[in-house]
Subunit: 358 residues, 3 copies
């Protein structure tokens, strides 16, 4: 079905890329819409009388095709790197310690270095060295104890966003508790009241502290599983746009994590927005069936391919993975997902594997 | 359930706060993430030979704990001030004058001074000296007359946003009427056609005029009350983000108004966005059941704890006040609600009182 | 019902406008809120000794009423110009060529000049010389071939946003196909899988390319029409906020297109957001019944007058045109719709004609 017309340009991409130094100089210029007009790489005509007798060598003129090839090479490089390895992985399931029937979790807040994309490492404030913090997964009715240990230079506190807790466990300094000072700790303890995809995050100096990484997923399984919600893969996707840039689970493309399943399986996605902007997530190739909002079942599931997720919201969807292939999955505010240098930020893929294919 | 580790810092918060002058100098520096590194308050080592023989006294070095205490003190101050008194109150119910069965309202648009938060007074364009303008509350089928008196320096007009009026009452200058000039007046008269949470606001130079305060709630009770929508408290919350900053009913925290009810009661909230940005309002401790959009019943109520409200939208929700306590209630775009100096802007509280407790 | 108080100003608008030159100088100053204080038009007291003996004539002082009149005149001018003629019309239905039962479409991407509003012409990247590109309208189960011819200076590709195609037709360079180089072409061919209001657009350097105009509507009629969705008028409205400013179907007010119907008819609107921001579209005078999201029927239709449309989303609504008149229809982020110079950008009108009235 593909049909490419013959090249009208003599210089092929390979020939061009062999001109290493020139390409390197030219890339920044290429990566700009303004560069559609002819661009000379770092050459300035010398009009001064004192100019040397031997003229400077003429800088090469890039053809439109060469410039397109250079841009495409940058795009290809990013996609070929996906999923790129980086130090650190957030949102890892945290196993509780059991103490007389209570599930005990320890969350240590401290400053770390966090590699968002290959080679881009930023200062982060993290729980247990992860951005997002470790995933907590419990069941309705569980007794849970969370010990917060504050190794930050600021006071902090944890709010369990979405859980309908007794007021003194709500984590809002000067309303429900004192702030937890640097070097101190605090214990939250409660019986888990309501199922759903919830979050935990700082509620003290929160615009800064949550933006810096003090956030995580708090998933509560219902006492009785809903058969209609059965899924083969259960994936939490935390969206963020704070101090670390546009991220999915703490990483920017190409360091984001693909979601992998087999054809015919059902994937449950739990979107959570911990940022300051909306992010309409668009899935290619298949639709999503929206089953819950903020942990509460929708009265009737509904379908879409682009789901707008606002700060503080959680949306649960099911994807029936009928369509095999690697499918782009990204925020459809395009400047959150692609620049002239290629895809970045809030981009990942849903990989639907055919049976018998690894 | 609370367990604070021993202080590792010798200087207590009280001792620190007694050092008034030093604290005052240091606060701006403290209130910055950059200040996590050691900061010297206004001290510069004097390296010049001409320095006086008697050395300047060493400036005090703030410890991390002192800086945390200083930041916390700012946060505490804001919360302790809530609800702070300010001059003026918007959104007050306006009683009509009855003229031969017609409910007559007068709205005078003029420039006023408006205190948004304690000590922050801004220029506003207001109806009847209030931001939001006075609340109009009528019933489906009522005959209503609204006289607009323009004491502004610009022309203006009123659009009844959400009401399905005859075209000549729609309030759009040069489409449905001439602009109402400075010093002139205009009369709107109609039979109220459709129930719901609606708004009235300027539709002339509206980006400026609505942003400056020319807006109000227009509530239409249905002819037949819906038993499922019965509420003990009916509260209108107008969101804005224009010239006066981030406000709820014209005030920024801590001058916002808490919503108060008794445990077991049902609260109806009518969100209205008169701003230019989305505001996902997050309620702590309980969920909201969404019953209407733009005045129209949703086909099936649905639940959430974070409701995204876009400009021009109105959403009605019910909250069953089961959980006693003072619950934070704020926009979850965190920079609309909290800075390093503490909470501000779009923050209020839902106060659920236990029976027998004032 | 209208009642204007007597003019307190002697100078009428007509008299004022006759002072052509003065008005022209003064308008920019008038068009600013700061100009509420007295403004002198381009007059500077000459304090130099070398000043001519004959003093400069005193500049006229505009009264508040004159300034209001001047602003109103700008607003009136825009509204009277609506719908203004401009060169070019986007979103025009593209008739396919039939080849052995296959509907064949050709889309040529190239740079054009595009008149957004009268006198404002911008550089655009367009399919077939239109912004939005030509509307493609097919039926579920149709066999479709789309030939993309790239006459741009960059590589490109087409993603059929919302269609659940085989992976190799998904249009994402380096994932599902190579980029289509300048001067080359590419053929997509598929059996149309799912009904609904979909889109096609570039998926290569897309933040730039879609923003520059490489986008269009791809409507798929269902195999069996739903009687409840029957409409007399079927109108596609593509929202955009990229390089060309705030536009509806590629044009800014007053060059936007009114939607015209007869009283009693049903209008189906298909909103599509190809921009980077939300746009809550507000219809005056009547409500909208939301029937589909991203091409999928909503489980139960619901009503509103302001519908928030996020980037990448499509929403289908029905409007029962019960209320005769010309109704403003605009984005309710007011700075997307009105400035002090009058309405602009994302504004159009729904015109409901009375029977027997042209």
């Amino acid at each position: 079905v593909s049909d490419r017309t013959a090249l009208t340009e003599a210089t092929s991409r390979r020939t061009f890329l062999r001109k290493g130094a020139v390409a390197a100089v030219s890339l920044p210029a290429v990566a700009s819409l303004a560069a559609c007009t002819e661009t000379r790489a770092a050459s300035k005509p010398d009009s001064l009388a004192k100019a040397p007798a031997t003229p400077a060598p003429a800088a090469p003129v890039l053809t439109a095709r060469q410039k397109a090839d250079a841009m495409d090479a940058m795009h290809e490089k990013g996609l070929k790197a996906f999923p790129a390895k980086t130090a650190g992985k957030g949102n890892q399931l945290l196993a509780p310690r059991l103490e007389q029937g209570v599930k005990v979790y320890e969350l240590t807040a401290e400053e770390i270095q966090w590699e968002v994309e290959p080679g881009r490492t930023v200062k982060a404030w993290a729980y247990n060295g992860q951005v997002p913090g470790p995933q907590i997964r419990v069941r309705e009715g569980d007794r849970v104890r969370v010990k917060l240990i504050n190794k930050l230079s600021q006071s902090t506190a944890i709010h369990f966003h979405g859980l309908e807790l007794p007021n003194d466990q709500d984590g809002v300094p000067f309303i429900t508790q004192p702030p937890v000072k640097p070097g101190e700790s605090w214990i939250y303890e409660f019986t888990v009241p309501n199922a759903g995809s919830h979050m935990y995050h700082s509620h003290h100096n929160a615009a800064i502290q949550v933006g810096a990484g003090l956030l995580g997923a708090f998933i509560v399984e219902p006492k009785r599983a809903r058969p209609a919600h059965r899924a083969d893969v259960d994936y939490v996707m935390v969206l963020n746009d704070g101090a670390h840039g546009y991220t999915l689970n703490g990483k920017g493309f190409p360091a984001t994590e693909p979601i992998v399943c087999n054809q015919g399986q059902t994937v449950r996605l739990r979107f959570m927005n911990e940022g300051m902007m909306i992010h309409p997530m668009h899935l290619h190739g298949m639709h999503m069936t929206v089953i819950a909002k903020d942990g509460w079942d929708q009265p009737a599931p509904w379908k879409c391919d682009t789901l707008n997720i606002a700060p503080g919201e959680r949306w649960d969807v099911l994807v029936k993975a009928t369509n095999p292939g690697t499918w782009a999955f990204h925020c459809h505010i395009l400047p959150h997902a692609e620049s002239e240098h290629g895809m970045f930020g809030m981009v990942t893929a849903l990989v639907v594997q055919k049976p018998g294919v690894a």
